[in-house]
Amino acid sequence: MRRFIKMPPQVLRIFLLAVGIVVCYSVARYFLTPESFKQYGWYRGEALAEMANRYEPSFAGRKACDECHSDVVQKLAKHEHKSLSCEGCHGPGQAHSDNPDIKIDIVNFSTCARCHEANPSRPKWHKQINISNHYGGGSKCTECHVPHSPNDVP
């Protein structure tokens, strides 16, 4: 201890200053590191919970539609449109699912054109037509087609 204090003052003071800085840093680090850090890895474990709660879903999913509209869902499941989701055409449905008074989107012919407009980039197995040439073009698709069961006629 005595030999330590006998170090030349330059060295001693700088050494003490350095120790002080390291101690301050360690204390700061102890206080400022978030609690859940390193719970699962080098990140805040709470972030997982926060991400899981970040948004309220806008799309409800087919099961939610099935609760009230099971007849339509079952009709859909029989034919070619069975892989479609209700909300793909009708838009986000969580608001409507929570409160049926909120109306869901009305579908018009541009919805059908979205998938069925002929485009050379689309795969060949996909049914597509050149809408402007199709029966005068611009007329309602639902005059001849039933979206929920595309093999039937209205």
Partner: protein, 269 residues
Amino acid sequence: MKNHLSRRNVLGKLGAVFAGVMAAPVARTAKAAVQKVFVSTTAPKGYDPTKHKWRMALDISKCIGCGLCAEACKKENHVPEGSFFRTWIERYIITKPKPGSGEARGETIVDCPNGGMHGFPEPTVAKEDILHSFFVPKLCNLCEHSPCVQVCPVGATFDAPDGAVLIDPKYCIGCGFCVQACPYGCRFLNPVTKTAEKCTLCYHRITRGLKPACVEVCPTESRVFGDLKNPVADDPLQKFYENNRVQSLKPHLGTEPRVFYAGMDKEVR
């Protein structure tokens, strides 16, 4: 020379130990008070991230380029207006080679109007000149050795135990290193929150038993989603892996993407 066991020395040492013991709960309370600024909302209700492994796969031959997935993602995740996309669709058009040129293929034209969000217009190339054309949906590739996670300086982006690669918006400092490091261009800096953002596999949906919004609205089952640790009956993801030979994007970089593409072409980057 004082004896080491002198009364003063022993009392002094005991006093120091006592002070330390008394100070510990004070320090802990102080730490908790400081921590309050970091404490967040509730824990997920019964969801254990270590018990799931979410994966997405893409069947290119089924994608019709309707753009419903990109649009749904923008709505579901409140992605800002402008050219910011958590998922997008690219259209590849490979033209026929010039007759007599001795080439197998012509040129490759790639486009992505508005992320493909509103579908795709007619291609500029005439139908007769097209050799191949297809759509490639892109998203976070869920890399095994994510370069984005590797370069984050503070630990704000991470591989969650359940397979998603997430960003902690409360911790991100907005340096943009992860955006530069991602080889697939799937990250962007959100101009509103000024933090990095990317596809989270709709983490707020999958932790509640829903599917990601893009998978939900895809009309042709081109996007395949599932839980490797809890496969359901007729699990579409398992069937995908069994029935398809697959490719991943930029394999030479060693990132080991876990999003596999079936029906891909060599021109896709």
